[in-house]
Amino acid sequence: MPKKQTRMNTNSQQRSRRAFITGAGAAGVTALAGCVGGSSSSNETTVTLAVSSGDGELIDRLLKQYVESEVGVTTETTILPNANLFEKLTTMFQSENTTYDIVAMDDPWMPQLAQHLAPIHDHVDDLPTDQIIDQTLNIGTWPTPGEAVPPNAQGKEPQLKGLCAVGNSHIFVVNERLYSEVGADLPDTWSDVYDAGQKISEQIEGSEGYAMRGKSGNPITSSYFSVGMSMAGNMFTEGWDYDWADQAGIDAASFFVDDLKSISPDGVASFDNSQVLSGLADGSIAAAPQWPSGTSLLLNEDKATEYENITFVPVPEGTERAAPVQGNWLLGINNYISSSKKNAAGDVLQSFVSQEAQEQYVDLGGVPFRHDTFENNMDKQPWFEALYGSLQNAKPRPRTPLWSEIETAQGQSLNAALVDEMSAEEAMAEAKSSINAILDENDY
C-alpha cells in the first residue's frame, strides 16, 4: 500500500511536472511569438505609425478623432523625439523590419529613406493632387523633380513616396510697431529688410533690425538658405557642382555676413532659434525668418510683450526670386509590410489628406498644405496668409543623403565669416572646397 501510494504520488508529481513544463513551454512559445511576430501578426484593421513629438501628437489626434472611424481601422501611434525617430527608422529599414506601417519623416531624410518606402499612388486610389500644393508634392517625390539627382537615384522614374503632413516653410516675422516708427513698409525684398533694419538699429534704442541664427552648423545654414537661394539660385548645378562660390554666391554671402550682421544684435554668431524668438518677443529684434512653430510663443500675450505688434509676411524676395526654405514633414508607407497592410496604410493616408480631415487638423492646430484648407481657414491663424505665400515659392534643401554633412560644412564656413575670421569670398571658396570633397568621396 505504501509502495502503491508512493508510485501514485510519483505519477501525480510527474504529471503535474509535465503539465507545468507543457504549460510553461506553451506560454514561452506564445510570448516568443509575440516578441518575434511584432506588427506582422496584427490584422489589417490596425495600422501602426512612428511620428515625431510636436506635430506627431496632432497627427495622432486627427487619426483618433476622424480617420479611424472614416477608414474603419485602429491606429497605434508611437511618438518619438526627432533625433530618435531618424535613428529608429534607419535601423528599422536596414533590417527590413515591419514594426511601423506608416512613418513620419522630416523632408531632408527622404533621400536616405525613399528606397524603403512604397509608392504612394500604388496604395492611394484618389489623391487630391489638384488641391495639394505642388511644392509639398514635389518634396515627397523621389527623385525630386527639378532638383539635382544623386548618383544612386539617377535614371529612376520619379514616384511619390511621401505625403505632406505638415506644410512647413519659413515665414517672415516683422514687428510692425518698430517698422512704422522708422516709417518703413512691410518688406517685400531682402533690400527692404536691410534698409528698414538700418533705420531701426540706428534710430531705436535697444532694438536691432534683424537677427539670424548664427550658431555654427545647421542653425546658420538653415537661416542663410532663403537668402542664398533667392540671390544666388540653387546651391548645386544638376551635375552637383557647388554653385554658391561664384560672384552671385559671394554677394549673397556678403549680404548675409556683413549687411544683415550689421543690423543684428551683438553676439549673433552664437544665436540659435531661442535667442531669435526671445528677441522678437521682447522687441529687441525687428524681423527674422521663423518656422510656423515659433508663432505660438510670439502670439502668446503672457510670453511676448510685443505680441500685438507682431505680423507675418512671406519670406522676402532676393535679386533672383523668392525662395523660402521648405521644411515639410512627410508620411510614407513602409515598403516591407504586406500588400494588404500597405493598402490599409494607403486608406489612412487618403483619409488624412482629405478636405474634411484637414479642416479638423487646422482646428487642432495643424499646419495645412492644401489650397482649399488655406483658403477656407485664412483667418484661423494670423500667419496662414504668409505661410500660404511662402509655401508656394518654397525651395527644398538639396536632395542628397549627404545633406547633413554639406550643411555642416557650409555652416562652419559661414559662421567663420560671420565672426570675421574670413571674408565672404573666402568662406564660399572654403565651403566649395570642403563640400566638393564630400561629394567626390561619395562618387558624385
Partner: protein
C-alpha cells in the same frame, strides 16, 4: 549503508567544490555586469569601427576608418581643441578645488553648509548648467554685469573665436570644482593629527608640513581626481552642444561634437565609433602616464 556513505561523500565533495569555487560564483554577477556594460560596448564599438555605414546598409572596411580619421586634419583639430579645453578646465578645477579644500579644512564656520551648497552644481545635469550659462552670457546678462567695470561694453562670450573656448571652460570649472574639493577635503581630514603635531614639534614650518606631511597623504587622491577630470573633460559634450555647437569658426569643435555629428547627423556609426575608440586609447594613455609619473598604484 554503502549507499549512505556514497551519498555523504558526494555531499562533502559538493561542499568542497562549492568552497573552492565560491569566490568565482560570488564574482559572477559582477563579472556579468562588467561584461554587459563595459566589455560588450567596447567590443561592439570595435566591431562598428570596422564598418562604413550608408543608407543601403553597412559595409566592412577593415581599418579604413582609422586611416581616414588619423590622416584628416579635422580630427587633429578637434583633438587640439579638446586638449586646450582639458588643460584649462582641469588646471583651474584642480588648483581651485585643492585651494578651497585647504580653506575648508581649517576652522571655517558653517563648513557643513558651505560643503552642501558646493555640491549643488555637481548634481545639476550638464545640459541644464549650459542653459543657465547661456542666459548668463547673453548680451547685458550677468557675466557682462560682472566684468562691466573692466570692459567697454558687452563681451562676445560665445561669438568671438578667441574667447568662446574659455567661455566653455568657465561653466565646467563652476560645475566640477566642488568634486575636486570634496575628494581632496576627504583626504585632508584623514591626515592624522598626531603626525602633523609631531612634525610641528620637530620644528617643521607650515610649508614644510604641507610638502612633507600633508601632500604625501593625499597624493593618491590628487592623482585620482586629476584622472577623473582629464577623462571627464575629454568627453565634454552637452556644454559645447548647447552653447556653441563647435563654433564660432570651429574654435570649440571638440572631439565629442565631431563624434555626435558623425553618428547622429550623418548616420556613420563606424566613423563615430572609431573616434570614440581613439579617444579611449588616448584617455588610457594619459591615465597610465599619470599613474606612472606619480608612482601611484590604485
Amino acid at each position: 549503508m554503502a549507499h549512505r556513505i556514497e551519498s555523504a561523500d558526494g555531499r562533502e565533495a559538493a561542499i568542497l567544490w562549492l568552497e573552492d569555487h565560491l569566490r568565482w560564483i560570488l564574482t559572477l554577477p559582477a563579472l556579468g555586469l562588467l561584461a554587459a556594460f563595459f566589455v560588450y560596448p567596447i567590443g561592439r564599438a570595435l566591431m562598428l569601427s570596422m564598418y562604413e555605414f550608408s543608407t543601403s546598409g553597412k559595409q566592412f572596411v577593415g581599418v579604413a576608418n582609422y586611416a581616414e580619421i588619423l590622416t584628416a586634419g579635422a580630427f587633429w583639430h578637434s583633438l587640439w581643441v579638446t586638449g586646450k579645453f582639458m588643460l584649462f578646465a582641469v588646471s583651474f578645477e584642480v588648483v581651485l578645488g585643492i585651494g578651497i579644500a585647504f580653506v575648508l579644512n581649517g576652522h571655517v564656520r558653517f563648513r557643513g553648509l558651505v560643503q552642501t551648497i558646493g555640491i549643488v552644481p555637481l548634481v545639476i545635469s550638464p545640459t541644464v548648467v549650459a542653459l543657465l550659462w547661456q542666459l548668463m552670457y547673453q548680451n547685458g546678462g550677468v557675466m557682462d554685469f560682472i566684468v562691466g567695470p573692466l570692459t567697454n561694453g558687452p563681451v562676445p562670450w560665445l561669438s568671438d573665436p578667441s574667447i568662446a573656448l574659455y567661455s566653455l571652460v568657465l561653466p565646467d570649472v563652476w560645475q566640477m570644482t566642488p568634486l575636486v574639493t570634496l575628494i581632496v577635503l576627504a583626504g585632508l581630514q584623514s591626515v592624522p593629527d598626531h603626525v602633523e603635531e609631531a612634525a610641528m614639534i620637530d620644528g617643521a614650518g607650515r610649508i614644510r608640513r604641507l610638502i612633507d606631511v600633508t601632500l604625501p597623504y593625499i597624493k593618491e587622491l590628487i592623482v585620482l581626481v586629476l584622472i577623473l577630470r582629464v577623462v571627464g573633460t575629454m568627453r565634454v559634450f552637452a556644454k559645447v552642444f548647447v552653447l556653441t555647437r563647435g563654433g564660432p569658426a570651429k574654435s570649440t569643435e571638440v572631439v565629442s561634437m565631431a563624434m555626435y555629428r558623425e553618428a547622429f547627423a550623418y548616420g556613420n556609426y563606424g566613423r563615430a565609433s572609431t573616434m570614440a575608440l581613439l579617444l579611449l586609447v588616448i584617455a588610457l594613455g594619459i591615465t597610465y602616464a599619470f599613474a606612472r609619473l606619480s608612482e601611484v598604484e590604485f
